[in-house]
């Protein structure tokens, strides 16, 4: 039993960053089996070292959630999440394997011909379940409609990483007759899943502890081994509902009521936090006092982001290429999504000057649905 008060760990000062990591790697090197990575700012990507026990624990918990959603060993599951250094794809793959499904791992497909060939593979191999992110579903629906394909049928889609709206759920039901179940997870931990009622995320309090403080969600993962996750601020706002759900489950639910200030999600399940923008401005090294970020869609499931900087005075020369390069490398996952053409960026400078030392960041989201 844990007693006493623990400090809250904020996502921008956690042990997953390089400055704290070397000692951990040195101390637990014999236990670490895998290294995965997550966003973070450039020069400071979040590193997630996992032991075999942790990985197994994560897969088991995730697979229990998948089973509660209704996935069983008869299902054929395609994992359409990023692999490589990212933890999302491998975690979903090992959980589906733990359930006993037939597992296809595709990674995050990004262009028309790849998605069209996915449709033929789905039909040929009778794949009935997809694990992916909402922006991919958006892309998939677009190409289905564009190519007049109407014989792709899926039973279940499990999503994570981004918010999913009712209009997408209805669109998916209409075109591929699939039910969408959203899951709530971060790189650091898998938290919970939606049930048939689609009202909050059920979580197992024996696996993951959730506390709400000033509306902020704090998580503690009980089987974390290499890096203990205690009272970790995940960056979302919400509340816990312990009443019995009408789906019949006695497990409590966490409801999300919003993101932390200015946190925004982009295509490819990329999350951008204010501290990353502050770090970006520091790296650009210009007297920027105001930053307006306008997010729009340039094609279904793909985002267009315009950075507008307000300066305190005009420098002698502005190297736009240098600034764009710094923006591209905002974080490891941002750079990856940019390289995969899921994100487009543009730069603009305000004509008026801003005095004072305080930096203001504004986010304007013009997308048709919230991520």
């Amino acid at each position: 039993m844990l007693r006493g008060n623990f400090f809250n760990i904020k996502s921008d000062e956690s042990l997953f960053f390089k400055k704290n990591l070397d000692k951990i790697i040195l101390k637990s090197s014999d236990k670490i089996s895998f290294f995965y990575f997550s966003g973070g700012t450039t020069g400071q990507p979040k590193t997630i070292p996992l032991s075999n026990k942790e990985l197994k624990g994560r897969s088991q918990y995730r697979s229990e959630c998948y089973k509660r959603i209704g996935i069983n060993r008869k299902n054929k599951v395609a994992v359409l999440l990023p692999f490589g250094p990212w933890v999302a794809g491998p975690s979903a793959r090992s959980a589906a394997k733990e359930v006993g499904c037939v597992v296809f791992s595709f990674g995050l497909l990004k262009n028309e011909h790849e998605i069209i060939s996915l449709f033929s593979i789905i039909k040929k191999h009778k794949i009935d379940t997809l694990i992916t992110i909402p922006s991919f579903i958006d892309m998939m629906l677009f190409f289905l409609k564009k190519n007049y394909i109407n014989d792709v049928k899926i039973n279940t889609i499990i999503t994570s990483g981004e918010f999913i709206t009712d209009s997408i759920r209805q669109d998916v039901k209409k075109h591929i007759s699939a039910d969408i179940y959203s899951t709530y997870a971060s790189s650091e931990a898998f938290i919970g899943h939606e049930c048939i009622e689609h009202s909050g995320y059920h979580f197992d309090p024996n696996r993951v502890g959730i506390k709400v403080q000033d509306d902020k969600i704090l998580i503690s993962v009980y089987d974390s081994e290499i890096i203990p996750i205690l009272n970790y601020e995940i960056g979302d706002l919400g509340y816990i509902d312990s009443s019995r759900c009408s789906c019949g489950s006695a497990l409590p639910r966490v409801h999300l009521s919003g993101r932390g200030k200015n946190v925004f999600s982009l295509s490819g399940a990329v999350k951008v936090y204010p501290y990353q923008v502050v770090e970006l401005i520091r790296r650009i090294g210009m007297p920027i006092r105001k930053c307006i970020i306008i997010i729009d869609e340039f094609s279904p499931g793909k985002d267009f982001i315009k950075f507008i900087f307000g300066l305190s005075d005009m420098p002698k020369d502005i190297d736009r290429k240098f600034i764009l390069d710094k923006i591209k490398n905002l974080s490891l996952d941002f750079a990856d999504a940019y390289n995969q053409n899921l994100i487009k960026i543009e730069l603009d400078l305000m004509k008026t000057f801003y005095k004072g030392n305080k930096l203001k960041i504004e986010v304007q989201d013009n997308r048709t649905y919230e991520r």
């Binding site: 075999n52 990674g107 390289n339």
Partner: protein, 368 residues
């Protein structure tokens, strides 16, 4: 010992639906199988509780390979055996720089290293080069496992970082490439030889041929034309039989590789037999990241596209960002015919489609 192996293979043969229908009584009666029949084996294997990876092989038709739970464990154990030969130890951190989703080799290599007690950093080779460097800086891996072409491509960002061991696989590695890779990455290169259908062997410190575990694999050498058995240490086509694979047993598979096998003790001290690979039996073009296509298949694509056998030869020239495929022909083709030929290439396999649509492969028609 060999009798015991034969019995095991015969048992697999009688159990699997694909082989069972052929009704064989002794090992000598088992017919050879080719890559098309391997697809049938995968189709008829038990698909429950399996992982599916894709490959197009060298002769088209993307194959979906269903690896059962035991097969994955068997292959991971075999990779662990490779690690022992290379000298990987429990303190090693392994950067597996390969495709981690579609192609199974990256996943299985990672699992094998975990079995060997290493720590694994799985990284997709699509990740930008500077990001790969960032990961190397943070984790400081001691072993890198990748394809020779990827290692050469990423080489310019390595910037003096030294690895202890460099594992290569998936492509034929020539001596020049080996020297360049060793110079850039600072360690010793150990090349591994495998087919999509079976993992074969790994080099020892002598770097002369690939050791294979004869308890796990039965390798035969046959004449490429009349398929008669060749004695040890004579070149011929390699025929592979896996002994312990349950889900998809590969029995007497004609690999298309020109090889020789020797059971003599190696001077490195290992008693395991060795296999050497010289070339493909049929002329083949190496394209990108381990993907190959037989010249005979290219000729068929020409036939299908324009109904004329004008293809003579092909050569692939690699530059920084793309591959130029020179197609030597004996008659002119107009723009629409060139487009038809390109379309045949696009439809031939997933990898070719991926390369062409992403502008990584360009065709040049040269009349001779």
């Amino acid at each position: 010992m060999r009798d015991k192996k034969y019995k095991k293979i015969l048992k697999r043969y009688r159990e699997h639906p694909f082989y069972k229908k052929r009704g064989i009584n002794s090992i000598n009666e088992i017919p050879f199988i080719d890559s098309q029949e391997v697809i049938d084996i995968y189709k008829m294997s038990n698909q429950a509780d399996s992982m599916v990876f894709f490959t197009s092989g060298t002769t088209g038709n993307p194959k979906a390979i269903y690896y059962g739970k035991f097969d994955i464990s068997y292959m991971a154990n075999y990779i662990k055996w490779f690690c022992d030969i290379e000298g990987a130890n429990q303190n090693d951190k392994v950067l597996v720089l390969m495709d981690q989703s579609f192609w199974g080799v990256g996943y299985i290599t990672g699992l094998g290293h975990i079995k060997a007690g290493n720590c694994v950093i799985p990284v997709d080779n699509d990740l930008p080069k500077d990001k790969i460097k960032e990961i190397i800086d943070i984790v400081k891996p001691t072993i890198i496992s990748s394809l020779p072409s990827v290692l050469l491509e990423v080489g310019d960002v390595i910037d003096g970082y030294k690895f202890r061991i460099i594992e290569t696989t998936g492509e034929k590695l020539n001596n020049k490439e080996r020297r360049v890779i060793e110079q850039i990455y600072g360690g010793e290169v150990f090349d591994a030889y495998g087919l999509t259908e079976a993992i074969i062997g790994v080099e020892c410190k002598n770097h002369d041929g690939y050791h294979f575990n004869s308890d796990r694999l039965l390798l035969e050498i046959v004449d490429p034309y009349n398929k008669e058995a060749r004695p040890d240490e004579e070149w011929g086509e390699l025929v592979v039989s896996t002994i312990d694979e349950y889900n998809t047993p590969i029995i007497r598979y004609l690999s298309g590789d020109l090889c020789k096998v020797s059971y003599k003790k190696c001077s490195c001290g290992l008693c395991y037999p060795k296999v050497w690979i010289k070339d493909r039996v049929r002329p083949t073009i190496n394209l990108h990241e381990g993907y190959k296509i037989e010249k005979g298949e290219i000729a068929k694509l020409f036939d299908r596209a324009i109904g004329r056998g004008i293809f003579i030869d092909a050569e692939a020239i690699k530059n920084e960002s793309k591959i130029l495929l020179n197609l030597f022909i004996n008659d002119a083709v107009d723009d629409s015919q060139q487009e038809k030929i390109t379309l045949e290439f696009v439809n031939y396999s997933y990898e070719l489609m991926h390369m062409i649509r992403n502008n990584k492969l360009e065709f040049k028609f040269i009349i001779q």
